[in-house]
């Protein structure tokens, strides 16, 4: 094997560092011959198998020389920070605001990268040994190659929930909330710089534990997890009744910076004559434990298999529209939309034509004999005693106000601030009734 050590624009420190007894021993051991190393006065041949290039490309001459080197060599190793990244001289900008100094891989294909300023000699020697042996250094892939993060999309059969890993910034908020919701579907995969968020074995969501709470969508700051938005569902049954949850009403008002009355006006403008503020907790009977949505139903069934739980199915006419904060109901019911979908339509209405609407012909029954709990320990307590009220389990942290189908808030995006604003709007609305 013929080995060449070549320097482009740089401080020569990396090549200077690897002049070493071990290097010469290594070359001798594998019968390799040094054919080009100007610092040591070796210029035997212009043909070589392995080219070790230090320094970055600053001028056109550098670029031409590098292309020539690539043509001649079978293996090209970029040595040091200048060759792999551009080095300190990349801090200067030339024409068109482009860095004057560019790394090698922007010009030619580079086989292996050795990083560092200067490089660690032993690391370089271990790579060189593998190259001289003719072994492809698989184990060192991440150390010697540019890392490409795997890009994949995870979805389910209906394409309802989607995870696009190319948008993921690996912040881990979805993982936290997935654990909180006792699903633990999403988790970190891979190690080091290739770490990503995925379901186990990149399975589609419907093959996993996922119960479609949708909080990963609500918490993702990058839009990597989304659910299918179909605002046209609202237009399909135009003129029909619209059933809206009080929580959805409050969060919509908060997110769009509207008054509750203005939301009603907007719904009217969208073509819904009859608006009913409706909560599925109206149908409860005292002494029983209820699940607010399929999410809670599944959690309770998994945790307490012997408990008799009833699912609070919303009683909505088949041709009416149900606006909910709950992604699980949105997945289950064909005539439901989430608040985020409704928000898309309301945004298209100019603000100045929305006048606050005072009079309402709303019939709502919010009974005080319902205890909404969001902690499983509370459910456990309720299981062991006679109850004079109904217990509704709602698992989302913050209740349905912060459910998976919540709209995107425009104001201060800190979660507690959003929650406080929505709670205030909801309380104000309930008090006014």
């Amino acid at each position: 094997m013929k080995v060449a050590f070549i320097s482009l624009t740089g401080c020569e420190g990396c090549l200077y560092n690897v002049i070493n007894e071990d290097l010469f021993n290594l070359l001798e051991k594998y019968n390799a011959e040094l054919v080009d190393w100007r610092l040591l006065g070796i210029r035997k041949s212009n043909e070589y198998d392995v080219a070790v290039v230090e320094g970055s490309v600053v001028s056109d001459e550098n670029a031409e020389r590098l292309k020539l080197i690539r043509e001649k060599s079978k293996v090209l190793i970029a040595l040091g920070a200048c060759a792999t990244l551009g080095g300190v001289q990349a801090g200067l900008y030339g024409e068109n605001n482009k860095p004057r100094s560019t790394p090698l891989h922007q010009h030619v294909k580079v086989d292996y990268f050795v990083r560092g300023c200067p490089v660690k000699t032993s690391e370089f020697l271990s790579l060189l040994e593998l190259v001289l042996k003719g072994v492809k250094p698989r184990v060192y892939e991440r150390r010697f190659n540019l890392v490409e993060r795997p890009v994949f999309k995870i979805s389910d059969r209906d394409n309802f929930l989607q995870l696009d890993s190319s948008k993921c910034i690996v912040c881990g908020r979805c993982i936290e909330v997935c654990k909180t919701m006792k699903a633990s579907v999403l988790n970190y995969v891979n190690r080091g710089i290739t770490t990503l968020v995925s379901t186990p074995y990149q399975d589609p969501f419907d093959k996993t534990n996922c119960h479609y709470c949708g909080l990963c969508v609500a918490y993702c700051p990058a839009g990597a997890v989304t659910y299918k938005l179909e605002p046209e569902r609202l237009r399909r049954n135009k003129g029909a009744e619209i059933y809206i949850e009080p929580e959805a009403l409050a969060s919509l008002a908060e997110a769009e910076n509207l008054d509750v009355g203005q939301v009603f006006a907007a719904l009217r403008l969208l073509g819904y004559s009859r608006i009913i503020v409706y909560s599925n907790t109206t149908h409860v009977q005292p002494g029983r434990i209820y699940a607010k949505s399929p999410v809670e139903y599944q959690i309770l069934r998994r945790t307490y298999p012997n408990l008799s739980v009833e699912l609070l199915v919303p009683r909505i006419p088949i041709n009416a529209i149900y606006v909910t904060q709950c992604t699980a109901w949105r997945k289950q019911l064909g005539n439901s939309v989430t608040t985020r979908e409704l928000q898309l339509l309301i945004r298209s209405i100019p603000r100045d034509i929305l006048e606050e609407e005072r009079e309402n012909q709303l019939s709502v029954n919010l009974d005080s004999s319902v205890h909404v709990v969001s902690d499983l320990r509370e459910v456990e307590k309720a299981m062991n005693k006679e109850l004079d009220h109904a217990v509704v389990y709602s698992a989302c942290p913050g209740g349905c106000l912060m459910g998976g189908g919540q709209p995107l808030s425009l104001g201060d995006n800190a979660l507690h601030a959003v929650y406080e604003r929505r709670a205030e709007i909801l309380n104000k609305y309930l008090r006014s009734r």
């Binding site: 401080c11 020569e12 100007r38 610092l39």
Partner: protein
């Protein structure tokens, strides 16, 4: 002598460079041109906080980065009115001297000696082993050979324990016999070609080798027996940098004269080793003898390092805070290849307003050209073959040990 132009590409020099020889109407003109692209470090540091400057300056050259690192730290300390304590000064001096010896060993074995004779394997192994010892001790004291970061303006940020110092002393004591053998080899086996220096002006710091630099300016330079005091305000009166059309680096004159710096200048200026008159005469007149000066200096410095480290005797370096926020600072130190000047001006936020770096290679470029011209004239008068004179010119340039990455660090700051 016919009109002709000759291009010699130089191997065995840090960086790529070229010697152009023009023979026109009996006149000889030599151009020594750096081939590397310009890297503009002075523009890189301007506008940044002063703490960045040493780390960027250390990347000017991977071969002598300790010198740049120290010079940059020192200039900023002078600008901010920091006066470091004795132990810090000694340790920094030791690091610089270690780098000087390491550079000399690489120069002797890999760059210069192959010109003179086929090297014996034994001497190469010894040199590599001695260099490995110095590398290890630099790793112990500073973390690494090139791009060091053990200290910042004000003092050390890396802990230097007694074990570190003792390990360095042990390694140096092991290396002394090896380096002595190399010196003997150089003195006995190397016969410099005879020539006379056309401009025997040399420049070195008066405090070398006791100190590669006094802890604070002004700096006193010795030039052929005369003394000059330079500080941040007057240094540009003495040193005049010119950018030539044919090279990517500048060239520099001192008081309008071409001059040389480096091991030979240090030895001649400060006479820190007793030499017989014959050798002294060769050193004074013959640019080729730089190789001998480097060998002598290596042995001297190794003993000096051991002595300096013993004198610390377990004391720890302290950190000194800056006493002002803005100012101008100059530092002149003895780098492996000669004088190195760093100058920084800091604004009221301690950001770098302007910077200037004059490196040894820039300083002796003119002298290289002048002595190469003299050599070619001499060779023609002796009626030598052309291929032998290219060899002698290459050897001459190599004897100065030019460092091209240092030379091309700069263009004029706009």
């Amino acid at each position: 002598m016919t009109n002709s132009r000759l291009e010699l590409e130089l191997d065995r020099v840090a960086g790529e460079s070229k010697v152009n020889v023009y023979l026109i109407n009996g006149e000889v003109r030599v151009e020594y041109a750096s081939q590397l692209s310009e890297r503009m470090f002075e523009r890189l540091v301007t506008g940044r906080d002063y703490r960045y400057a040493p780390y960027i300056a250390a990347r000017i050259c991977g071969v002598c980065s300790h010198a740049h690192f120290w010079a940059s730290n020192l200039a900023i300390e002078n600008a901010l009115g920091i006066e470091v304590d004795e132990v810090t000064a000694i340790l920094r001096d030791v690091c610089n001297k270690l780098q000087i010896v390491e550079n000399h060993l690489v120069y002797l074995i890999f760059l210069a000696l192959p010109d003179y004779r086929e090297l014996e394997a034994g001497i190469v192994t010894k040199a590599i082993r001695a260099r490995e010892n110095i590398k290890n001790s630099l790793n112990t004291l500073c973390g690494r050979l090139s791009g060091p970061q053990p200290y910042m303006p004000g003092g050390f940020i890396k802990e230097i324990s007694l074990q570190h110092v003792e390990k360095t002393i042990k390694l140096m004591e092991e290396s002394v016999p090896l380096v002595e053998e190399i010196l003997e080899y150089v003195l006995s086996k190397v016969n410099s070609p005879s020539m006379s220096d056309p401009s025997p002006v040399y420049l070195a710091l008066s405090t070398f080798p006791e100190r590669s630099v006094p802890s604070k300016g002004p700096y006193i330079l010795v030039s052929s027996g005369e003394y000059f005091t330079i500080n941040e305000d007057n240094y540009l009166n003495y040193f005049n940098e010119v950018k030539s059309s044919y090279s990517n680096s500048k060239a520099c004159t001192f008081n309008g004269k071409t001059f040389f710096v480096g091991a030979r200048a240090r030895l001649l200026a400060n006479k820190y080793v007793e030499l017989n008159s014959e050798l002294l005469e060769v050193l004074r007149c013959n640019p080729y003898s730089n190789i001998v000066a480097k060998a002598i200096e290596s042995r001297y410095l190794l003993r000096d390092i051991v002595y300096k480290l013993r004198s610390i005797s377990g004391k720890q370096p302290r950190r000194t805070p800056p006493s002002r926020k803005q100012g101008k600072g100059l530092s002149v130190i003895e780098a492996p290849r000669g004088l190195l000047i760093h100058f920084y001006e800091l604004d009221e936020n301690s950001r770098i307003k302007s910077a200037n770096i004059i490196t040894p290679t820039v300083m002796f470029t003119k002298h290289v050209e002048a002595s190469a011209e003299a050599l070619i004239k001499q060779l023609y008068s002796e009626k030598n073959e052309e291929n032998t004179f290219t060899k002698y010119v290459e050897m001459l340039v190599r004897s100065y040990d030019p460092c091209i990455p240092c030379a091309v660090h700069v263009v004029k700051v706009p």
